[in-house]
C-alpha cells in the first residue's frame, strides 16, 4: 500500500469513528454519510429502508434518498422549505408527523437535515464524486500460512464498560493455528488463553456488542461483527497480533448477527434482520454481491475453508448454499423446522454442520446436498414428572475440531462432543456453579462453543457471561 493510501485510510477511519458526533461539523460540510445517514438509520429505515420501502421510499443510501419515493423526490437541493421530508418530520399534528406514533425528531437533527439540504445535498466530505474507499487490508495468500501462528502481543489496554452484571457471551472463536480464543463482551473483545481462561488482552468494540467472531484461516485476522440492536451494525477486522483495526465494513441499521470471512480473506459476508446477505470486498469495502433469497432474519453464515462455497441460514430454518465468488445459487438445504442457530464447515470443506432452535443437528454432505447424519433432539431437556408443554431444546452453536469432531451446546445447559460418525462422545454440564450465583428464576445456558486448534480444549461461553473450559487431552503414554 502506498503511504498516501494509508493516510486516506486513516482519515476514513477517523471519520467513521467520529462521524456520529457533531464535533467535526463546524469546519466540515454537512454530508449524507457523516451526518444524515445516522439520523435516518435510527429513525426512518425501519420502514423506509432496504427491507421495507413504505411509499416506495428508501432512505438507507444516498442515491435512493435523492431518488425519493412514490410521491416524487423528498429532498430538493437548496430548498429545505420545499422538501417534503422536512414537512413530514416537522408537522405539528402528530398524526401527520414522521416517524409515526413517536416523538418528533430532536431539533438539532432537524436542523442538520435542513442544513444538509440547503448546502446542496453532499454525499460525503471529499467531493461530489465519491472516491473509492480503501480499507488498506492485504489478504493473506492462501498458501502463506506457514511461519509462527499469530498471537496477540503488545495490545494496548482497553477500558471496559461497567455493566450491572456480566454480558452474555454472544460470540466465541478459536484460532485455527494457535491456542487462542476470542470472546465477546460488552463493547470489547477479549483474547483468552484457553488453558487457564485468563485474558491476554482486549480490543475495544465501541460500536456495541459483537455478535459473531471469526478468525481468518491464517489466524492473523479476527472478524468481529455486531452493533447495537435496531441502531447500527458493523463488521470490523482486527489484526490479531497488534489488535489494530484494519477495516470497518458495512453500515447497517440493525446489529449484524451473522458474518464470516473468506479463507483468502478477500471478502466478508454479513447478514441480519434485513434478510439480505451482503458480500463485501475487504480490499476496498465495495459491496460485491447482495443475496436476497432469505425470507426472515439471516442467523448464520459460514464460508467453506476451501473458499468455494458460502452457507447461510435463516430464522425459518432454511439454509442456502451459494457460490462464494460469484454469489450464484447452488442449492437450498431444508431440514430445520425452526431458526438455524449456527453453521460450521469441517476443515475438508466436505461437510457442513448446522444446528437449530428445533433441537436438530445435521451433518450435511455438501457434494450431494443431503443430510448425511441427522440428530433430532440432540440436546433433550429433562422433563419433570407431570410437566407438559414444549421445553426449549434448541442447539445454539456448533463447531468442528481439527479432526472432524463436532462440539455443540444447547438450551439443555450442556455442551456435547460428537465423533465424526455422529456418535455422542461426552456431555458436559455448565450447571456446577449455578448455585454460587444469585440467579433464582433465571436459566443459564451455554451460548457458544469452540475447540482449540489442536482439539485439546473445549471452551464454552454462557448466558451469564462466564467462560467454561474442559480438557480433552489424549492419554499420556
Amino acid at each position: 500500500m502506498r503511504p498516501k493510501d494509508t493516510l486516506k485510510f486513516l482519515i476514513v477511519i477517523l471519520l467513521c469513528h467520529y462521524g456520529n458526533g457533531l464535533r467535526a461539523q463546524d469546519a466540515k460540510p454537512i454530508t449524507f454519510d457523516d451526518h444524515i445517514a445516522p439520523i435516518f438509520k435510527r429513525h426512518c429505515v425501519q420502514c423506509h429502508g432496504e427491507t421495507k420501502q413504505k411509499a416506495g421510499l428508501d432512505l438507507s443510501s444516498y442515491l435512493s434518498t435523492k431518488k425519493g419515493g412514490g410521491g416524487g423526490p423528498v429532498v430538493l437541493s437548496g430548498q429545505s422549505g420545499s422538501s417534503s421530508i422536512i414537512k413530514v418530520i416537522t408537522a405539528e399534528n402528530p398524526a401527520e408527523r414522521m416517524p409515526p406514533e413517536n416523538d418528533a425528531l430532536p431539533k438539532e437533527q432537524v436542523a442538520l437535515i435542513k442544513a444538509w439540504i440547503d448546502s446542496g445535498l453532499r454525499q460525503n466530505a471529499g467531493s461530489a464524486a465519491a472516491p473509492t474507499r480503501i480499507l488498506g487490508f492485504t489478504p493473506a495468500a492462501m498458501t502463506n500460512i506457514a511461519g509462527p501462528a499469530p498471537m496477540p502481543s503488545k495490545l494496548s489496554a482497553v477500558e471496559k464498560i461497567k455493566t450491572t452484571r456480566p454480558f452474555p457471551i454472544l460470540a466465541l472463536a478459536s484460532s485455527n493455528r494457535a491456542p487462542l480464543i476470542a470472546s465477546a463482551s460488552y463493547g470489547a473483545i477479549d483474547f483468552v488463553d484457553p488453558k487457564d481462561r485468563t485474558v491476554m488482552g482486549s480490543v475495544a468494540f465501541p460500536e456495541g456488542e459483537p455478535q459473531i467472531l471469526r478468525f481468518s484461516k491464517s489466524g492473523g485476522v479476527l472478524l468481529a461483527a455486531g452493533g447495537r440492536p435496531v441502531q447500527n451494525g458493523v463488521a470490523v477486522l482486527f489484526d490479531v497480533v497488534s489488535g489494530k483495526r484494519l477495516a470497518e465494513i458495512g453500515n447497517e441499521s440493525d446489529a449484524i448477527i451473522a458474518a464470516d470471512i473468506s479463507a483468502d480473506e478477500k471478502s466478508i459476508a454479513i447478514g441480519g434482520s434485513s434478510r439480505i446477505v451482503k458480500i463485501f470486498s475487504t480490499k476496498d469495502g465495495t459491496l460485491l454481491h447482495t443475496l436476497v433469497k432469505h425470507t426472515d432474519w439471516v442467523t448464520a453464515i459460514a464460508f467453506s475453508p476451501d473458499g468455494k462455497l458460502l452457507a447461510t441460514g435463516d430464522r425459518t430454518g432454511l439454509i442456502h448454499i451459494w457460490d462464494a465468488t460469484s454469489g450464484g445459487v447452488v442449492f437450498p438445504l431444508s431440514e430445520h423446522k425452526a431458526s438455524v442457530r449456527s453453521l460450521a464447515w469441517r476443515s475438508d470443506s466436505k461437510a457442513l454442520a448446522s444446528s437449530g432452535d428445533d433441537g436438530l443437528v445435521v451433518w450435511w454432505d455438501v457434494s450431494k446436498g443431503w443430510p448425511s447424519i441427522s440428530k433430532p433432539d440432540a440436546h433433550p431437556a429433562q422433563r419433570p414428572a407431570g410437566y407438559y408443554g414444549k421445553i426449549p431444546n434448541g442447539v445454539l452453536d456448533v463447531a468442528f475440531g481439527p479432526k472432524g469432531e463436532l462440539v455443540t451446546c444447547g438450551r439443555d445447559q450442556t455442551v456435547k462432543v460428537w465423533a465424526t460418525d455422529g456418535q455422542l462422545v461426552k456431555t458436559f454440564s455448565i450447571l456446577e456453579e449455578q448455585s454460587k450465583t444469585n440467579t433464582q428464576g433465571i436459566k443459564i445456558f451455554p451460548t457458544r462453543v469452540a475447540l482449540t486448534f489442536d482439539g485439546a480444549i473445549l471452551v464454552a461461553g454462557d448466558s451469564a457471561g462466564r467462560i467454561h473450559s474442559w480438557s480433552l487431552k489424549p492419554p499420556k503414554k
Binding site: 416523538d103 460488552y186 433465571i442 480438557s471 489424549p474
Partner: protein
C-alpha cells in the same frame, strides 16, 4: 481414534466469571418485580400483545407474544431467552430492546408506547435490573376483576367520572390495577372511556363500559339521561312481571312507551308469531265480534294449543340444529335420518315436553341415525363425513348456551371469561364420539367410546379430561361423559342454559334479544335489561322449562302488545322495547301467509301436496355437500343452515325480494288461481265489499276512508272486471304492511 482420545478427557475446572465482583454488586431492589405479576400486565396495557401487534398469531416484525398473554411461560422464553442479550440486556438494562422499542428510542413500527419517566418503564427496567427472573410458581393467579362502581348515571352529556379497577388474586389479596387495565365502551355516542378509565358522557342512552385485566372483562352500566324537562312517566298499566321490569327500566331512562296496539294489529301480530301465518277473514271477524275483556288472552291460549305453534317451533329448532337430508352415506344425514329427527322434535314440541328434557335426551343419545331421531344431533350439527369434536363443541355451546367458545381454541377468549382450559375440557366430552356402519348401507350407529383420549391443550399438549364450562375439575365419570354433560347443561341451576332459551324465545317474539345477537353471549355483550332476562329465565325454570308458559306470559304482557308507532320520547330507542319493532316476515311465514291469503297451495319437491313452508326443510345433496333448499327461501333469507349462527336467518330486505313479489310467480300466479276474486264477483259482492274483503284478507284490517275512495276509483265502472280487483290484490300483497309484522 478420536474415541480413544476422549476416554481420557479430564475436567479442568468448573467455571470462571469475567466480572464476579459486579455480579454480587448488583443493586438490591426494594421490592421484587415479578414477570407474571408486574411485567405481563404492562405488556398488556401498552398493547404489545394485542392482536394487531406482537400478539398476532405470527407475531410482528419477528417478535411474537401470546395474544393478551395466555402463555406467560412462552412469552418469558421469547422475551428473555429466544435471542440472548437482545430484547432483554441484563448487563446494561437501559439498552434492552424491550425498553428502547417501547419508548420509541429506536425505530419501532408500533411507535412510542410510554415514556422513560413512566411507571411502566420503571417496572420493566427494575425487572431487567433484577436479572429478568421468571416467577412461574410464586404468583397467585388473578381470579376476579372488580370495578369500583357497576353503574354510572349521568344527568347530561360532557360529564366525566373516573373508573377504578381492582384485581383479586387467588390468595385473597387485592390490588389497584386501574393503571394496568385496558378500557373500552360499547357505544361511544353514549359514553366514551379513555385509556386511564375516565368515563365521559356524550349523549342520552344507555351502554356499558369495560375494563380488561388479565383474562377478565368486567363492565359497568352507563346511563346518560335525556333532559328531565318535559318528561312525565305515563304510568301505563302493568299486566305481569315483564311490564314491571321493562317499564322500570324505561322510567329510569326517561323514555315513554308507545300506546297499546289496536285489536286487529294484535290479532295479526300474535297469529304471525304463534301460528306462523296471517289470520283468516273468519278469525278476524270472530275476534272483532268478541266483546269479552280478556279476548286477547283467550286468543293467545287458543293459538298455543294449536299444532301450528308446535310445528313452527319445530321449524325453528330444525334451523338451529341444521336439519338437512343428504344422500351421502358417510355423513349419516340420509333423508330418512332427517325425517326421523324432525318428526321426533315435532312430537316433543306438540307434547309440550320440557325443553331441558328435550335437549338432555339429544345430548346423551346413542344409536341408529335412522331409527333414533335425537341421535342425529351428532350427524346434523356438523355435516361432515368425520365427526369433528372441536367444531361440534363450538356449535353445541353456541346453540345450547348462546356462547361462542371457539375463540378459546387458540387463545383465551379476549372478551369473555373462557380460557383454553375451558375449551379443551369441553371438547373432550365429544372426543369419544364414533360412527360405525349399521345394518343397511346408509345407516350409521352413533356411540361414545369412553376409552378415547381427551383433547390436548394447544399450548402445552396437556390432556384435558372432559369438564363443563367454568368448572375447575373434570367430571367424574368412567363411562360416557355426555351423561354428565346433559345433567349439567339442562339442570335448573345452569343459568347459562335457561337464560339462553329465555333470550331466544323473547327474541323470537319481540324481534330482538335482550342479549343481541342471541348467540353471542359474553361479558362484553351484556343484557340490555338484566333483571328482565333474569326474571324470564327464572320463570322458565319455575315452569319446568315449559315453552308455552313463557310464550304466554310474553304475549300477554303490555310490552308485547305495544304499538309500533313511536312517540317523540321513544323514537330513538331501538333496544329497550318501548315500542314494537317492525319485523320482516320470515321467508317461510311469508310464503305460508301468501298461501293463506290467496288460497293457492305451494308445492315443495320431495314433500307431500299441501305441505306448509314451515314444515319444509332442505333435502337432497350428496358428496358435494348439503342442498340448502327451495329458491324462494334463499331469496327471502330463510336460514340456509350453512352454520348454526342465528344470523343465518336474514332479516334485511333486498331488491330481489321486492322484484320477486312484484313480478315473480309466487304472487302473480296466485292472484286469480285461487278464485277468491271470481267467487266474490260471481256472488254479486259490491265493489266496496270486495275491496274490504281483500284488505282484511291481506292486511287484517279494513281500508280507511282515503283508501276506500282511491280503490273504488280504480275499479270505476268495471265492477265485474276481475282484473281491477287483481291489481288491488297485487298491490296489497306487495306493500310493506304485508311483508312486515308490525
Amino acid at each position: 481414534m478420536f474415541k480413544s482420545i476422549v476416554t481420557w478427557f479430564s475436567l479442568i475446572v468448573v467455571a470462571w466469571s469475567q466480572l464476579v465482583g459486579n455480579l454480587s454488586a448488583a443493586e438490591p431492589v426494594a421490592s421484587e418485580v415479578g414477570f407474571r405479576r408486574d411485567v405481563m400486565p404492562v405488556l398488556f396495557r401498552a398493547g404489545c400483545n394485542s392482536g394487531t401487534c406482537h400478539g398476532s398469531a405470527r407475531g410482528k416484525d419477528g417478535f411474537m407474544l401470546s395474544l393478551f398473554g395466555y402463555d406467560a411461560k412462552g412469552d418469558y422464553e421469547r422475551i428473555v431467552n429466544e435471542i440472548v442479550g437482545r430484547r432483554v440486556n441484563t448487563a446494561a438494562p437501559e439498552q434492552s430492546l424491550l425498553l428502547l422499542k417501547a419508548t420509541g428510542a429506536v425505530a419501532h413500527t408500533g411507535g412510542k408506547l410510554f415514556a422513560n419517566d413512566s411507571e411502566h418503564y420503571q417496572t420493566l427496567l427494575r425487572w431487567i435490573t433484577q436479572g429478568a427472573p421468571d416467577d412461574s410458581d410464586k404468583v397467585p393467579e388473578t381470579v376476579a376483576v372488580i370495578l369500583f362502581e357497576d353503574r354510572l348515571m349521568f344527568e347530561k352529556a360532557g360529564v366525566g367520572k373516573a373508573l377504578k379497577v381492582t384485581a383479586r388474586a387467588s390468595d385473597g389479596s387485592t390490588r389497584d390495577v386501574t393503571k394496568l387495565a385496558r378500557f373500552f365502551s360499547n357505544n361511544e355516542s353514549v359514553a366514551k372511556i379513555d385509556a386511564n378509565g375516565m368515563v365521559t358522557s356524550t349523549g342520552p342512552g344507555d351502554t356499558n363500559v369495560f375494563a380488561r385485566f388479565s383474562r377478565f372483562t368486567t363492565g359497568a352500566e352507563v346511563i346518560v339521561l335525556p333532559p328531565e324537562s318535559g318528561f312525565k312517566w305515563s304510568n301505563p298499566p302493568e299486566v305481569n312481571f315483564i311490564d314491571k321490569l321493562v317499564f322500570e327500566r324505561l322510567n329510569k331512562l326517561r323514555i315513554t312507551p308507545s300506546e297499546l296496539c289496536d285489536d286487529s294489529t294484535f290479532l295479526r301480530r300474535v297469529t304471525l308469531d304463534l301460528a306462523a301465518r296471517t289470520p283468516t277473514i273468519a278469525e278476524y271477524d270472530s275476534f272483532n265480534a268478541d266483546t269479552k275483556p280478556n279476548k286477547r288472552a283467550a286468543k293467545i291460549d287458543e293459538l298455543l294449543t294449536n299444532d301450528a305453534f308446535a310445528d313452527f317451533w319445530t321449524a325453528i329448532w330444525g334451523e338451529q340444529l341444521r336439519i338437512m337430508g343428504g344422500d351421502y352415506a358417510p355423513v349419516g344425514t340420509l333423508v330418512k335420518a332427517a325425517d326421523t329427527y324432525y318428526e321426533w322434535i315435532r312430537k316433543q314440541m306438540r307434547a309440550g315436553r320440557p325443553l331441558n328434557e328435550f335437549v338432555a335426551e339429544m345430548v346423551a343419545s346413542s344409536g341408529s341415525n335412522l331409527s333414533n331421531g335425537p341421535v342425529n344431533l351428532y350427524t346434523m350439527l356438523v355435516h361432515k363425513p368425520q365427526f369433528e369434536p372441536k367444531s361440534f363443541a363450538a356449535d353445541f355451546s353456541q346453540v345450547f348456551l348462546g356462547v361462542q367458545i371457539q375463540c378459546a381454541e387458540c387463545h383465551n377468549h379476549p372478551f369473555d371469561r373462557w380460557t383454553m382450559d375451558d375449551y379443551y375440557g369441553f371438547v373432550s366430552f365429544f372426543t369419544g364420539m364414533k360412527r360405525k356402519p349399521g345394518v343397511e348401507p346408509r345407516e350409521r350407529r352413533i356411540f361414545c367410546d369412553p376409552t378415547a383420549a381427551p383433547a390436548r391443550h394447544l399450548v402445552d399438549g396437556r390432556p384435558m379430561p372432559a369438564k363443563v364450562l367454568g368448572s375447575i375439575d373434570p367430571v367424574k365419570t368412567t363411562g360416557d361423559p355426555r351423561k354428565e354433560l346433559a345433567i349439567w347443561l339442562t339442570s335448573p341451576e345452569n343459568e347459562m342454559f335457561s337464560r339462553n332459551l329465555a333470550n331466544r324465545i323473547w327474541a323470537q317474539l319481540l324481534g330482538r334479544g335482550i342479549i343481541e345477537p342471541v348467540d353471542d353471549v359474553r361479558a362484553s355483550n351484556p343484557p340490555v335489561n338484566g333483571p328482565l332476562l333474569d326474571a324470564l329465565s327464572k320463570r322458565l325454570v319455575e315452569s319446568k322449562f315449559d315453552l308455552r308458559t313463557l310464550v304466554r306470559d310474553i304475549c300477554n304482557s303490555r310490552v308485547y302488545q305495544l304499538s309500533a308507532k313511536p312517540n317523540p320520547s321513544n323514537f330513538r330507542d331501538t333496544r329497550q322495547f318501548s315500542h314494537a319493532h317492525l319485523r320482516k316476515l320470515r321467508a317461510d311465514v311469508l310464503l305460508d301467509s301468501v298461501v293463506v291469503v290467496t288460497g293457492v297451495k305451494r308445492g315443495f319437491g320431495g314433500f307431500p301436496e299441501g305441505t306448509r313452508a314451515i314444515d319444509y326443510y332442505p333435502r337432497g345433496g350428496g358428496t358435494e355437500g348439503p342442498n340448502f333448499g327451495d329458491a324462494f327461501f334463499a331469496t327471502f333469507g330463510r336460514s340456509s343452515r350453512g352454520t348454526v349462527c342465528a344470523c343465518e336467518t336474514k332479516r334485511e330486505p333486498t331488491l330481489s325480494q321486492t322484484l320477486h313479489m312484484a313480478v315473480g310467480d309466487t304472487v302473480r300466479d296466485r292472484l286469480n288461481a285461487g278464485g277468491v276474486i271470481k267467487k266474490m264477483v260471481d256472488d254479486k259482492f259490491t265493489p266496496d265489499q270486495i275491496i274490504e274483503n281483500l284488505y282484511i284478507r291481506t292486511l287484517c284490517r279494513p281500508p280507511n276512508d282515503e283508501e276506500k275512495v282511491a280503490m273504488r276509483s280504480l275499479v270505476g265502472d268495471a265492477v265485474k272486471d276481475t282484473s281491477a280487483y287483481e291489481d288491488i290484490f297485487w298491490s296489497l300483497l306487495n306493500c310493506s304492511e304485508f311483508a312486515f309484522n308490525h
